[in-house]
């Protein structure tokens, strides 16, 4: 089964056609989404009515293209905003976590490390509802006993950010820790010997070394936040981020404008994926 071992040509043919079938399976749903965004029809299905770019650029009639669909455009901006804030928070905490776990020894460290991994095994829906319940309880308590009404503890964008931050931080911590492990401590010591304060050494020597991991983690975090549905869906208020808005339209039955936006999403995430992969290769 490895190149140095000869197999019958029939075995090889079967194995290779299996692989081709597998890649068709992987690509098929993405290809049809892309192709039907150019169908000149009100539904993303056959029959093929001819090629059009109306689902991107048309501004009137019964076909409103994505660039003129203000509801969807708003939800895109909302998602971008949420993703930026979540990423900023998650990266900050992930950096402090990485230093804590890589540089310090303290009682209960391995227990804390396990707790830190926990968000990976909690289903997203559950993470969402538990935060919803907890924050509502705090809000109710404050309102009943202290007559303070804290709007941000009710379903809405702040809670969405908090919910996404709760699990994205774990992933960012793992990415940044992995790179910090490879850091040669003697470089930091050299900086200290040359008169730098510990903090200065970290910021001038260690952080630049971590930069590729931080950028990689930020890309992953941005995409995970942007594409998150499960946790977000439990915590949204009246403003719908993109995934929630798309979900609602999908259930109603959709026009190919959804294909158009999906194609844009694919291009966006594809570009980010390639940037991330080439960067990992360079820094490895």
């Amino acid at each position: 089964m490895i190149p140095s071992i000869k197999q019958s040509s029939r075995f090889n043919a079967i194995y290779q056609s299996y692989l081709i079938a597998f890649f068709i399976f992987l690509a098929a749903p993405l290809i049809v989404v892309a192709v039907f965004s150019f169908n000149d029809s009100l539904f993303p299905s056959f029959p093929w009515q001819g090629f059009t770019t109306d689902w991107f650029f048309s501004s009137e009639g019964n076909k409103i293209g994505i660039f003129f669909d203000s509801d969807l455009l708003n939800s895109i901006w909302l998602s971008i905003g949420i993703a930026l804030v979540t990423t900023l928070l998650a990266i900050t905490v992930a950096c402090t976590n990485a230093f804590l776990f890589e540089r310090f020894d303290f009682p209960g460290k391995s227990f804390l490390y396990m707790l830190m991994l926990l968000p990976l095994v909690i289903p997203g829906v559950l993470l969402g509802v538990s935060i919803l319940v907890f924050s509502s309880e705090i809000a109710n308590y404050l309102e009943d006993y202290w007559f303070i009404d804290l709007e941000f503890l009710r379903p809405g964008l702040t809670l969405v950010v908090i919910g996404q931050f709760a699990f994205i931080t774990t992933i960012c911590t793992l990415i940044i820790s992995a790179r910090l492990k490879k850091f040669d401590r003697s470089l930091e010591e050299a900086a200290l010997n040359l008169g730098a304060s510990p903090l200065m050494a970290v910021f001038t020597v260690t952080m630049p070394f971590l930069k590729p991991a931080i950028i990689g983690a930020a890309i992953v975090s941005f995409l995970m936040s942007f594409e998150n549905f499960n946790t977000t869906f439990m915590l949204v208020g009246s403003d719908a981020p993109l995934t929630v808005a798309m979900f609602e339209r999908l259930r109603e039955g959709s026009t190919p404008v959804l294909n158009a936006i999906s194609l844009l999403l694919m291009l966006g995430s594809g570009v980010l994926a390639i940037i991330n992969m080439t960067m990992q290769k360079k820094s490895a």
Binding site: M1, I2, S4, I5, Q7, Y15, Y18, F22, F23, F25, L26, A27, A28, P29, L30, I31, V32, F36, V93, T96, N97, L100, F104, F106, L112, M114, M116, L117, V121, I122, P123, V125, L126, V129, S130, I131, V133, F134, E137, F165, A166, T169, L174, E189, E227, F229, N230, F233, M234, T243, M246, F247, L250, L258, N259, S262, L265, L272, M277, K281
Partner: protein
Amino acid sequence: MSSLRTTSTFKLGMWLLLAPLCLWLVLLIILPHLELLVFSFTDPEKDSFTFGFYQEFFLEPLYWRTFVRTAVMSIMATILTLLIAFPVAFYIAKMLKGRSKGIVFAMCLIPFWVSELVRTFGWMILLRESGVISNFLQWSGLSDGPVELLYTDATIMLGLVYTSMLFMVVPLVSTLDSLDDSYIEAGYDLGGTNWNVLREIVIPHAVPGIVSGCIIVFMLSLGNYLTPVLLGGKDSLWFTEQIYTQFITRFNWEQGSAFGLLLLLLSSLIVWAGLKISGQSFAKTMG
């Protein structure tokens, strides 16, 4: 650095780094789940302790059947994903070298950077009555009329397998990568057949990857919401849907909390069992 370790600045640094970690874990993970636990045992009218919401789960067949169904289908999806992914991972890890290996591996990864919603939408276009496959079957004469392929259990299974494929391929490739070719060659030299080599050498070596892949895929399937709802339609009967209904539609938070904890319990049990059987540690498998 040794002088630094004893100074109080070092201690202060540690506490400063400990603070965000603890705030995050306590406020966003531990307390919310404890709150769920309290909720699930509280009678909202009398504000007293009750087992009622768990009783309700066992007494109402719809609830526990949905629960069992979700668990069984998730296990089946995990096994299917493993079977489909293994030959692919083996090919990438062992048959390909250098540049072509990188490209094929990247081809496996890139689809999963796209939102799950988009991927599921793609399957809907392929499988629905007016969809691509139905049209193809009619055009080729294999079927006389439109065929509805959506809204069956098989469709849900297909969606689950597709969605979690990456999380199986990646750990498998990385463990198979570390298997030295000479072991495989030795297996053949000693007269082993393909099947012998696979069973005696390749699979035992791949166990850590198989376990972490299976655990992740199982948890993702169990906690999935989009795929069962969109591909399974009204009768998808997925447990996360029940949780959503209790919380958001019926506003019965106590019942929803009980359901949520049961789901968490099931997923922890299966993860624990998987680790136990294979003798792996949680931190190693996840990290």
